[in-house]
Symmetry: C2
Subunit: 379 residues, 2 copies
Amino acid sequence: MSHSTTITVRTPSATYDVEIAPNLLATIGSRIDALLNGALTSGKQRAFVVTSPEIWALHGKAFAASFPTAPIVLEVPSGEEHKRLATIERLAEELANHGADRDSLLIAFSGGVLGDMTGFLAAGYMRGIRYVQVPTTLLAQVDSAIGGKTGVNLAAGKNLFGAFHHPLAVYADTAVLGTLPDAQLRAGLQESVKAGIIRDRALFNYMDEHSDTILSGNIEALTHVVAASVLVKAKVVAADEKESGERMLLNLGHTLGHAIEAATHYKQLLHGEAVAWGMLAAIGIAERRAFVTTAEADHMGRVIRTYGPLQNFSANVGDLVALTAKDKKNRSGSRSFVLPIGIGDATVVRDVSPAELTDATEAMMELRGDFHRGQQVSA
Amino acid sequence: MSHSTTITVRTPSATYDVEIAPNLLATIGSRIDALLNGALTSGKQRAFVVTSPEIWALHGKAFAASFPTAPIVLEVPSGEEHKRLATIERLAEELANHGADRDSLLIAFSGGVLGDMTGFLAAGYMRGIRYVQVPTTLLAQVDSAIGGKTGVNLAAGKNLFGAFHHPLAVYADTAVLGTLPDAQLRAGLQESVKAGIIRDRALFNYMDEHSDTILSGNIEALTHVVAASVLVKAKVVAADEKESGERMLLNLGHTLGHAIEAATHYKQLLHGEAVAWGMLAAIGIAERRAFVTTAEADHMGRVIRTYGPLQNFSANVGDLVALTAKDKKNRSGSRSFVLPIGIGDATVVRDVSPAELTDATEAMMELRGDFHRGQQVSA
C-alpha cells in the first residue's frame, strides 16, 4: 500500500490543494483538466508546460500523453544562471507568440529554480495568469513549490525580484524522486530535517529513526516525509502568507546558507547543503544562548550529518558575516536570524551581534574538517 | 482661490488617497514623510526617486529640497522603448547596490511610462515594496498613476508583463502641467473626455463648454478636470479592481487605439491621440447599433476634435483589425469592445464582428482627411 495525501494550503489570498502520491504523472493531464472543469478537453483554455530538457527527456512522453491534447512545451536549460529576467522575457514573448491569453494555464514541471521562474512568469504575464506546480525534486516538493513565492535572481543576490503568486494546485509525484541523483535527494531531505526542527518533532524523530529506509529511496518512506514536510510548510504559510513573522521560521539555516551560496558563487554546494551548514551555525548560536541543550544540539547535528555528507566549501568567515547583512529578510538595518528552541520549535531573533555570528560561523567552518577528512580545506 | 481635492481609492487590496492641487511639489517631501510617520526624518526608512532627466532638470531641485534628507535619484531616459524588463533589472540592481530594503519607498516622479515601470519595480523588488506616484503629465494624473496597473512592454505588445500593485498615495500637482508641451496636454485631455463619455456627463459638458479655458492651461479649470477624471477612475477601479468587468470601460477607444499605436510602432501618435481615434471608431459602431443617437455621436466627435488636432497616421485597415485580435483583454478567443451608451454611460460587448470592426475602422480612416486637409495621407 502506498500513501496518498492531500494537504490544503489556506491563505488570505488563495486556497489550494497539494496532492502527494507516487505515480501522479500518469494521470496529471486529466487531473489538471478536471481542475479546469474540462476546459482543456473542450479546447476553451490552453496549457503551456515549462520544463527542462532533462526532465522532459525522462518524463515528457508520459506527461504529454496524459493530456486530452498535448500541451505546448517551453524548455529552459537547467541551472541557477538562467534564473534571470532575460529568461522570463524570452518565455513571455514565446507565450505571446503562441497566443497565450488571460485564460491560459502554465504548468511548472521542474525543480525549484524553474518552478520559481514559472510562477513569476505566471504572476507577470498579462499581470497574472494561473499556474500549477508539478515539482520533480524533493526540495521543490517539500518547499519551493508551496507558498507562492516566485521570482528570479539579480546580480546583487538570489530571489531579489519576484512576486507572491500562489499556484492553482501542486502535484508532488514521489515516484519521480527515483530519478533524482543521490546528492539532490540528500540535499532536499535537509529541508525536511529543517521542517522537523522548527515545527514537527515527530517528523524529526521519523527521519532520525528511518534514515536508512528514506535514503535508500523507499517510496513509502519518502511519501511520508514529503507529506509531513508539506504540512509544516502549509501551516506556516497559512499563519503568515507574506513573511512578516511566522513564515520567517522556514528560513532556519538560510541566513548563513544564502551567504555561503553567495560566497561560493552558487557553484560548490546544493541549496540544501548550504542550508544544512547554516542550520549547524544557527544551532550553535541557539546552544550558546541556551535555547537548546547541548544534548539537543548534538542530536540535531547528528541527524543533519546523517543526511549528508555535507560538501566542503571555500569561504572566508568575514565575508560570510558581511554577506548576512544583505539578507532580504532584514528590515531597516536590523538582521533577522531564526534559532531553534529545543527540537520542534523555533523563533526569530533580531539581536544576533556580529561577534556572536562570527563565533558561530567560525565554529561551523571548523566542522568542515570533521566531515571530510580526506579533503583539503582551502578557506 | 485654487481647487484642492482629495479622492480616496478603495479596492479590496488597498485604500489610498489621491491629492489633486497646484503647487504640491513644494511640500512633497514633508507630505511623504508624514505618510511614513516621520520615518524619513528619523532615518529609519529611505526614499528612492525614479524620474527622467528632463523632469529632474525642470523640478528636481525644488523636489529634493522638500525632503528632510535628499532622496537617492534613479534616472531613466524618456521613451516607450525603455519600458522593458532590461530597464527594470538595471534599476533593481541599483536599488540593491544602494542597500534598499523591504522598508524602502520608491517615488515615481514622472509621466505614465516611467510611472508604470516604477510601480512594477516596486511590485517585484524583494517581492514588493511600497511606492508613491507623483505624476507629471495629465495622462498620468488622470489615468495611469491611479489603479495599481504596473508593467512593461514585450516585443509582442504593450504592457504585456506586469503586476497589480497600488501606490501608497498619489500626488497630482496640476501646476506642473504648465511645463507640458501643448500636444501632450491635448492628448491627455482625451482621457478626460473618455472619462466623461463613459461615466460623467457633467465632466463631458464642462469640457465641452470650457474648452478654451482648459486648453489655455488655466490652472483652476485643469484642476477641476483632473479631479473629476480621477473620481471616475477611482469609482471604476473600486467596483472592479482586477479588470474582470466594469474596469474594462476605461478602455473605451483603447482596443483600436492600441492597434493604431502598434501599427505605427508607437512613433506617430501620442497615446491619447491614438485613443481619440479609437473612440471615434467605437462611437461609430455604437451609432450603427443605435447605442447612441446620431446627434450624440456628432456631439462626442466634436468634443474629441476640440481637444485635437488629431495627428494623422499611416496604417492599413486589415492590419488594424488583425491587431485588435491581440488585445490582452480578450479571453478564450472572444474580442472585447467598449461602446458608449448615450453620453455618460458605456458597456462592454463581445460580439463585434470582423465586418463591423472593418466598417468602423474604414470610416475612422476616412476622417483623417477631414482633420488634416493639408497633410498627405499615406496609408
